[in-house]
Symmetry: C2
Subunit: 378 residues, 2 copies
Amino acid sequence: MGSIGHVTPQKLSFDAPLPLKSGATLANYELVYETYGTLNAARSNAVLVCHALNASHHVAGTYAGQDKSEGWWDNLVGPGKPLDTRHFFVIGVNNPGSCFGSTGPGQVNPATGRPWGADFPVVTVEDWVDAQARLLDALGIQRLAAVIGGSLGGMQALSWTLRHGERVAECIAVATAPNLSAQNIAFNEVARRAIITDPDFHGGHFYAHGVVPRRGLRVARMIGHITYLSDDSMEQKFGRALRDAELGYSTQEIEFQIESYLRYQGDKFSEYFDANTYLLITRALDYFDPAREFGGDLSAAFAGARDHRFTVVSFSTDWRFSPARSREIVKALVDNRIAVTYAAIDAPHGHDAFLLDDPRYHGLLRATFERIAGEVQA
Amino acid sequence: MGSIGHVTPQKLSFDAPLPLKSGATLANYELVYETYGTLNAARSNAVLVCHALNASHHVAGTYAGQDKSEGWWDNLVGPGKPLDTRHFFVIGVNNPGSCFGSTGPGQVNPATGRPWGADFPVVTVEDWVDAQARLLDALGIQRLAAVIGGSLGGMQALSWTLRHGERVAECIAVATAPNLSAQNIAFNEVARRAIITDPDFHGGHFYAHGVVPRRGLRVARMIGHITYLSDDSMEQKFGRALRDAELGYSTQEIEFQIESYLRYQGDKFSEYFDANTYLLITRALDYFDPAREFGGDLSAAFAGARDHRFTVVSFSTDWRFSPARSREIVKALVDNRIAVTYAAIDAPHGHDAFLLDDPRYHGLLRATFERIAGEVQA
């Protein structure tokens, strides 16, 4: 089982305006992407990997000269890995609105000559899927062997079957949900308020002030991080362990190791993530709700997805998108007699489990992709 | 079942310094308290009610001329109510460090002539219980018929049996835990970071600047509020309901009713609650851990509590202090063959259930206090 080795991101410019769900339009946008493996002659072995909140097109491999630059799903994608690049042509693409290279709020708005900031149009899961479809056009790929994603990426994978169903054979949706619960939205909203009320946010136009709303980003990330980990794994990893040997009796200094860990995560995040991107991506999460156009009937939403095969994976301790949310998706598929494999993985790691290499989880994905590889080559 | 009617808070000054767990000392402190009902001739019918994070001595009744000024546990305490003031002399006391009248960080530090601010000493559950014991001394009450509290108040009730066991007959601990989990501490820490990194916090000495760290307090309260409600009750109350008829596609404006609700809760809280008090009280929560001195052995911690009777109550959907945390307390008591009644109430309201009047919950407390009333009069 080898590594992909060094990879190089590529960039494509799109001149045709992208109509957005909000009614606005994104013109002249660029998409950054990476590919791994080789597209076969029939152009039938492409697998699209959709990224979640703070990830990017850099799914696997490393960048030359950069230590610790492994892609975010490097344990899944590579030669001999579950998503085997000896058989598949794997595509990672950075979504518009992000801060990792594709057109986003930190880049210059051609209409004004200044960074987009808060004026960047609101983007949705559906808009991202449409942008991804155009990238496939440019790459000469008519139909995906599979689309896969975890969390917000899983929402994109689901959306592919609903918006461009004729262009995807298989959908693998991991640790995701058919929409956000009130509690999910609530956590997003607190994170957004922390960012927006940071005096350095300047209404989303902080670039012009030479500052970054670091305080808000730190708090947002800390909140997010709590929801990514399970109560149990946090307890096992940190428990009530103190940083120092004795209590210091302070309200402002670090006492417990969990505090130290969270502050570190927040600090690190605030150094590289764009505040407007955080708002945009949490909003895309809030808005995703394919059942909405069908009066809340998720089964009706999936009625047209009959030509696909689905794999749905949940993790027992994921309290952000609990197994019950995956079962809602499975039920909607079963209601439509659509082929679906549902794996409820018993794993202690909470939502973050989708990024880890639990053997049962990866075993399932390996078997799934081996089957797909057989179908592609048949 | 009647209301207590109008009540008036009282205040007592204490000249003997209060030694604190941190090693510091609190001198010349005042305690604000309220009492309901009449102390009997034997002085044996007193029940102490301990308050949680954002509550106070004002447990029941109303203030003359103030609409909607019902005490925070008014549904529990009054003539004919479960904690019946026709039989009991009920005491509510505001803990030091609070912002509702007892000596706290917003008040003037006699040593400097300026508000204490961040210099207010760190107070613990044990310190509060010691201060409460001195109030009983002043009121001429040697022994409590019972001590009761929910959440952080429940920790105080437990601590009473460990610190002043000879002065309390019965402990009623509702929706509480023997210590905070890593996740509990994590949520507290995020809230504290939001406050401390608010530029208007000024290191805890914002009073001198004529400002209040309102942004941080709002975020802190929003986070807290999410943890007080169950996922289910939030879903039933708000779900994905929009504030307006149509989506507005905005990252900064309110789209969902849950956002509107949380912002309102945050705004309201930031208008009356002191930022330093928030830090102090969340720290008191973090620090509470009676098993710590016994190498983490909670049963050993309760070994001396044999002369009490305990009632422990948990709520099925409370994910802040889950039923499993109550069962840890019950196990420690049972290990010591201490009399304990444990009620696991199936209620949809999450942690906040302890403030509501679920009939099974109130029925249990009514029966418990009726039994105690019989014993007091015997």
